[in-house]
Amino acid sequence: MGLNIAFWILAIVGIIAALAVVLLRDVFRAALSLVLCFLAVAGIYITLSADFLAAVQVLIYVGAISVLIILAIMLTREVQRGSPSNRLQIPAFIVAVLFLGGIAFAVLNTPWPVSLAPPLEPTTPALAGLLFGEGGFILPVEIAPILLLAAVLGAIALVREK
C-alpha cells in the first residue's frame, strides 16, 4: 500500500518536472527541474527494489551530469535568450503524442509473462557477481572504462584553447 502511494507521488513529481524541463522559458530553472526529475527517477528505482541503481542514479545524474549541464549553461550566454521553440513545435508535439499512444497501446495489449517471485534484496552482491563474476558481463565492464577515457580525452581536446 505504501509502495503504491510512493509510486504515484514519484510518478507525478517526475512527469511534472519533466514537463517543466521542456516548457519553462528559463534554461537554468529547466536544469533545476531536470535535477528534480532525476531524483524522482531514483525514488522510482527504490520502489522497484533496485537500491544500488538508486544510489548510482543520485551519484551520477544528480551529482555529476546535472553539475556538467549547469556549468555549460553558465559558460554560454544563452540564458538570457531563454529556451524558445523552433518552428517544428506542432509536428514534434504530434510525433510525441503518436509515439506515446503507440507505446501505450502495445504495452496494454501485450500479455506480459509476469513472474510472482519476490524481488532480490539487497541487489548489490548479486549485481557485483553479475558484473565481475564468472560468465557475467566482465567484457562490457572492461570496455566501459575505455569509453569513459575516450570521452574524457575527447572533451578535453574539444574545449582546449588552440
Partner: protein, 103 residues
C-alpha cells in the same frame, strides 16, 4: 489497485515522449541535451521494471541500466564539450543557426 509492470512502462513512455518533444522542438542545444538525458532515464525505468517483474532473480535489466548510465555520462561530457566549443567560435548555441554542414 496494485502497481504492476504496465504502470512503470506507461510512466517510462510518458517521460520518453516528453524528452522526444523537447529534443525535436527546442532551439537551445543544452535543452536538447537535457531532453536526451530524460529519454535515457525513461529507458532505464523500463529496463529496471522489466528486470523486476519478468525476471526478478536475474537482474539483467539492472546491469544494462548501469551500462546506459556509463554511456549517458560519456555522452553528456562530449556533448557539452562540443556545445562549449561551438559557442566559442560562433557565439551561439541555437541549433537552428548551427547549419554549417547543411546542404
Amino acid at each position: 489497485m496494485a502497481i504492476g509492470l504496465e504502470h512503470y512502462l506507461i510512466l517510462s513512455a510518458i517521460l520518453f515522449s516528453i524528452g522526444l518533444y523537447g529534443a525535436l522542438a527546442k532551439r537551445n542545444a543544452i535543452v536538447i541535451l537535457m531532453s536526451i538525458e530524460l529519454m535515457l532515464n525513461a529507458v532505464n525505468i523500463a529496463m529496471v521494471a522489466f528486470s523486476r517483474y519478468i525476471v526478478p532473480l536475474l537482474l539483467t535489466g539492472q546491469v544494462f541500466a548501469i551500462f546506459v548510465m556509463v554511456v549517458a555520462a560519456a555522452e553528456a561530457a562530449v556533448g557539452l564539450a562540443i556545445i562549449i566549443s561551438i559557442y566559442r567560435y560562433r557565439e551561439t548555441i541555437d541549433a537552428t543557426k548551427i547549419d554549417l554542414m547543411k546542404w
